[in-house]
Symmetry: C2
Subunit: 388 residues, 2 copies
């Protein structure tokens, strides 16, 4: 019996830590595992590592070091942005703008604020998942204090016209946040070019460790801390600094930055090979978001008539890890809120599967995956036809 290695095609859910990243982290557990807020020599060494990591990350994203607020991940960064700004700007108004395709880490804070009397406009998206910049501009009104629109969608990969949106926001004094959690491996994250006030990323999406992320907070942007205590992170986020994790994130971001062009080009080609293969071998498929600019590693595919859960489970048994959408909502039986927002006919809605590739994905993986998907799709359709 020949054993094939498993195919991991769920890089949008998480990426394992790169060995180089772990190597960078190791000195800060046992030997150098001190408190970066302590004033003694042991603490100062930890502080130096923290400062260096902050400066490195700031340099890469075009920020000042004091604009980088380390968090425990992307969800915390999003909650801090949304709750932090709305608390600070409550006197200016209570209206916000967002989109129905956002991650739950944006939608749920907005829903919480709606309970508290805030009003949220959710912009419609087109059938590729994009918002319109003119609709965004039209939604701004007196009392609009915050907009949160993601840079790239976590399920279908669609990019939003963030620089345009942020420009409209700036002209009308609307604080602009973008969830860029899916992006650093594939898109340059430059806060100056994007023009955003707030931007969230999470290390484990680009081969860094889990449990660490950051919120970029442009100087002068009013953000009130949500985790309170010590004055760490410029008094915007309390808690003893996770130096090892932060050092790992800096290393991972630096590697992502230097390899981005090469890796994106290679993965984009593999994605094309995958989609061409599917279109050739499987009938009745729709590639969601493909007509819009999208992340190089994402392929979200609907298989008419095949429940997405069934496809994911069969592929897992056959040796391929894929998902129905956000891992954070995995286990939920509802169809994806992102795919639902595209306004597609019913048959495309409950059959959407997310394939997301990464730096370890090979052409051989792609070919095996296409063959597996074709085989599983055929089996599931036969089964369903026999039971109709």
């Amino acid at each position: 019996m020949q054993m094939n290695a498993r195919i991991y095609a769920d890089h949008a859910a998480t990426t394992p830590v790169r060995p180089e990243v772990l190597d960078a982290m190791l000195p800060y557990f046992v030997e150098g595992g001190y408190n970066a807020s302590s004033l003694h020599a042991e603490g100062r060494r930890a502080r130096t590592a923290l400062d260096n990591a902050r400066a490195e990350i700031a340099g890469i994203i075009g920020a000042k070091p004091s604009e980088v607020i380390f968090t425990a991940g992307g969800s915390e960064a999003n909650s801090l942005a949304i709750f932090g700004v709305t608390r600070a700007r409550r006197k200016d108004g209570a209206h916000m703008i967002s989109a129905p395709v956002e991650h739950h880490a944006v939608l749920h804070p907005l829903e919480r604020l709606a309970e508290d009397g805030f009003d949220v406009t959710f912009l419609a998206v087109d059938d590729q998942g994009q918002v319109s910049a003119s609709a965004f501009e039209g939604a701004i009104r007196p009392g609009t204090i915050l907009a949160s629109i993601m840079l790239a969608n976590n399920e279908i990969g669609t990019l939003q016209p963030i620089a345009q949106l942020a420009r409209h926001a700036r002209e009308r004094d609307v604080t602009f946040h973008t969830d860029a959690v899916q992006c650093p491996a594939y898109l340059p994250i430059h806060v100056g070019e994007l023009g955003v006030d707030l931007l969230s990323i999470s290390a484990h999406k680009f081969y860094g460790p889990k449990g660490v992320g950051l919120l970029f907070v442009r100087e002068g942007t009013p953000v009130v801390a949500q985790t309170l205590g010590g004055s760490q992170e410029f008094a915007k986020r309390a808690g003893t600094e996770n130096v090892a994790g932060i050092v790992g994130m800096a290393r991972a971001l630096s590697l992502a930055q230097s390899e981005r062009e090469t890796v994106s080009a290679r993965i984009s080609e593999l994605r094309q090979r995958f989609e061409n293969g599917l279109l050739e071998k499987v009938a009745d498929v729709r590639i969601n978001g493909h007509a819009a600019p999208r992340l190089a590693n994402n392929s979200n595919v609907s298989f008419a008539g095949i429940p997405a859960d069934a496809m994911v489970m069969r592929l897992d048994l056959e040796g391929a890890a894929v998902s129905t959408g956000s891992a954070c909502a995995a286990g939920a039986l509802e169809p994806s809120h992102v795919v639902a927002a595209l306004g597609l006919p019913e048959r495309w809605q409950r059959s959407a599967v997310r394939f997301s590739f990464g730096r370890t994905t090979s052409a051989k993986d792609i070919d095996r995956l296409v063959a597996l998907v074709a085989q599983v799709a055929a089996e599931l359709r036969t089964f369903s036809a026999q039971n109709a």
Copy 2:
């Protein structure tokens, strides 16, 4: 020239990771660094590690696994407890009870709530830093929804009569939270015996990694999530699970549990040796909190006439890491709010230095530290007398 190794006597600020803890974590970075919320085989293996860690920790603290909510550390656990309960119980009232010796991670959330119309009673403490159970009982009134009193103080080590306080709270339907961040290495943490509804701990205080902690939430205790998004942690705390960190915390807690008696006895003796040495060799010292039950590893000492900062800096230069109090407030020039709350004469207030020992502390360290402190105290007093 003979080089002595440095003496680390700031274990209350942080403890470096134990090698056994790092070993337990290592499989969950590179090889097993997957998303515990993913449904495929890779995700399920991460989920199993997470479930096992949760069950192990729950077993040690006497909780059900579903009562253990992982956070990014002690500060987040405290903010979650305080903001989470007050939001859930706002309809029941807006009064809280706490004490002036709490960590800023408790005091600052209470101050935030005071801005929002909540009322907080801060119980007085005696000159050892203890609150009185009868004063606590007397402070409960209709509309009291939450009390937060720490198990052991982070600066002076004083233990509070938590089981008694929690009993009073339970009788009057007051949700009871305790910050136990300083305790797991030295005190059994059993939520049944303590009778608390909520309890915070942080892995890096007991040789686990930074960036991970937990909030125990007794079943039925109303707590609303503060970081929103996915439904991780029983919908009480969103964010991709930091499996490596959580596995490390479980290992660290298990080691702390099995070694606690031996280690506490040994460190308690070393602490006695330290304090005896100081009392013998240095004039005009006061050991803060020593007459109350206190943590085995803590010795908070005031040196009349010597500014605490000067003592800490000179000791650092001479090779000993100690602190003026909480690392989270390090760098602040104000005297410790904990020492201030003891109501001591002025000369004891600005001269309090925290020495905190740990499993690597040796009798030789203690003897060297006593000699160093005596030498530095003499120098600083001579200097100050010459400049008077």
